[in-house]
Amino acid sequence: MSVQSAATCRSSGRRVANLALTSALVGLLCILGLPSLTAQARADQDASPRCGTCHAGVVNSFRTAPMRHAMEPDGANPLLSAHPDLTVTLGAYTYTVQTRNGHSTYSVTDGTETLTLPIHWIFGQHTQTWVLEKDGHFFESLVSYFPRENTLATTPGDQQITPHTLEEAMGRRLPVWESRACFDCHATGVGEKLVTSKITPGLGCEHCHDGSNQHMADAARDNFKTLPPSLKHLDAEQISNFCGKCHRTFDTVMRNRWHGPAFVRFQPYRLALSKCFVGNDPRISCTACHNPHQSLNQSAAFYDSKCLVCHSNTNAQSAAHNVKSCPIAKSNCASCHMPKVELPGGHARFTDHYIRVSKPGESYPE
């Protein structure tokens, strides 16, 4: 599973019951290594405490975590720089994403007229969708970049759109709430009203640790009483709800009546369907397998060890609770019990977090 895919994190159901984090403007102090910072800003930062001043380990590891890169700023995208000329023709329109001198543009032409817009908001680190701005409105690009095939293709969820104008071909106009929801999950500092000049691309500390800016400010004055609320006491159900504010909860999917494999990417919802999921068991929480402050662990053995905490013949607790061990294998658990599902339209696959005994050829279980 990866959280870096903007195209797969977006809500194709259009109705996003999403959290509006009421955080204040996130302090740049939280965010390390922003390339756009001026020398003076850097000097100012260096003179002030940052999250990393006290929490160096976690801040350092978070630099490479997928959520930190949920949105990439303009001019800092190695993927687009490595593929400076991307093009695809879909129906009557030809799309081009061109990168020169660290800046990317998105063009669409019908052969007669051409619409070109700068790419300022890159959603996703690998699979990318771009949010474009035109005449004061936000648009989701109608094509996205898919690294598996190194190609541009229709943005997931937009396959049913038949553009009639160049602007419609350029992208899907986002309602106010949807653009706010998109930015709120991919950037920090959105607040109740989206003002792009005030946001920081990607997730900073304040995004999840509400109050960390205040904590830093107070800590600079040796006041350590205003700590952000601890997340350590959350049970598995609460962690699912917390992560599900962006990754979507069971409740959200049910309320919006989302069905089908397009929603396999909403992991907390899928996990809740699993027979082994129960809210008071920390061994099945999101954070039992995923450390949000670290890069995604790609080792099958690592995840096997998580499964075997419960599903092991040698585990007395498992025996006591009548938890079955796998009669087939003791490794690569996820390959059978968490099969990968191709998203509609192709181009990307997601690990289904509905943990189950999956049989070859079975249809996608709702």
Binding site: N18, V176, W177, R180, V278
Partner: protein, 370 residues
């Protein structure tokens, strides 16, 4: 595109023809047994073709007296009387047809429209509701008139949420008419009046609310926001406008909806608005924040279903699982299909480690969300 008016309009003729075409799929009619019947049927068809409606109605009536199982005769008798504003006769004719062919959805829809005209609103709602459920609105030429009247009836029955579903469909069709805006305004303001009953002094207000609602439902959220802002400035003390906007926003953005409900509470606190505010906070996962408005709503109206659900969920998620589960179970007793209550129970069973009950509730939720 204008909505068809009710009396003798070209749109209405189109509507009738469309239904007639749809009825061709009905089972074959019975063969006339007598020469007299054949003669009457032929003369009735000729009179109908010549637009001699009184004669055609008379001849079809005589023919049906000879052969009451003649489906086509009942259909045309109903259509012709509907077109002639003879609604009681049309209802009788369509009822005969529906006895012979209970699946004649166009006849059900037309009978509903006739019942609306005779102020038999209960039966009109039943017929139009069923007709739409069985696809009567799938025929583009009929969709607007059927959905509009169904929406009016739903609103009259205080089923405002269901009415807004119909108005949403009309807005997507770009249907426009002064009465449509007033009607949407009435539903949005939760008034069960018909547009014709609105006092002239109030008409501009409902028209304004309805226009803003229509623009919102048609998908232009930014223009709708401007229109609602204008209404807030124009009618700062009028209760219901923030509620209306909040209600429209609710499925899309609970946070924005919650802001509107807060502002509505400043104008006129009601238990329903408190409960909806609590629900928006629950949707955002802010269970502690949801507790006070949920408690206020429940205290002022313990029988209000959404107050029960909101308080039950808020209590359960903030530690009072027993009381929360009790309220949610009571809500389910009242409405076994309440998704929100089942979501709350699933969460409770998850927190408490009751796997079987949790799985059962999640299965119910999945079924309800289909």
């Amino acid at each position: 595109m204008a909505l068809p008016v009710l009396v003798n309009s070209p749109s209405r003729c189109l509507f009738s023809f469309a239904l007639a075409a749809a009825l061709l799929s009905l089972p074959a009619i019975s063969t006339a047994q007598s020469a007299e019947f054949s003669d009457l049927a032929a003369r009735a068809a000729a009179a109908r073709d010549q637009q001699n409606l009184p004669l055609a109605i008379d001849l079809y009536t005589q023919a049906e007296q000879l052969n009451p199982s003649w489906q086509e005769g009942w259909w045309y008798l109903g259509i012709l009387q509907y077109t002639s504003n003879q609604y009681a006769g049309a209802i009788d004719a369509f009822s005969h047809l529906l006895q012979l062919v209970p699946t004649a959805v166009p006849a059900m829809a037309l009978r509903g429209l006739c019942e609306y005209e005779t102020a038999d609103y209960e039966n009109a709602l039943r017929d139009l509701d069923q007709a739409v459920a069985h696809g009567a609105a799938n025929e583009p030429r009929n969709e607007q008139i059927i959905r509009f009247h169904l929406a009016l009836l739903l609103s009259h029955a205080s089923r405002f949420e269901d009415a807004l579903v119909q108005y949403t469909a009309l807005a997507k069709l770009k249907a426009e008419a002064p009465d449509l805006f007033v009607a949407i305004g009435l539903a949005g303001m939760r008034s069960n009046s018909f547009p014709a009953d609105v006092a002239s002094s109030d008409r501009e207000f409902y028209q304004g609310v309805g226009h803003a609602g229509y623009v919102f439902l048609s998908g232009d959220d930014e223009q709708a926001d401007q229109l609602f802002s204008h209404l807030f400035a124009q009618y700062p003390d009028r209760a219901g406008i923030h509620f209306c906007y909040g209600y429209l926003l609710f499925p899309h953005d609970p946070a924005m909806a919650g802001d509107q409900f807060q502002r509505e509470l400043a104008v006129k606190p009601t238990s329903e608005t408190q409960a909806l505010l609590a629900l928006t906070l629950i949707y955002e996962g802010r269970f502690s924040d949801a507790l006070p408005p949920a408690q206020l709503a429940y205290n002022s109206d313990p029988n209000l279903h959404i107050a029960q659900v909101a308080l039950g969920r808020a209590l359960a998620e903030t530690g009072d699982i027993s009381h929360g589960a009790d309220l949610l179970n009571k809500a389910i007793e009242r409405d076994p299909k309440d998704l929100e209550a089942h979501l709350g129970l699933a969460s409770i069973y998850s927190h408490t480690g009751n796997r079987e009950e949790e799985a059962r509730e999640r299965t119910i939720c999945r079924d309800l969300s289909k």
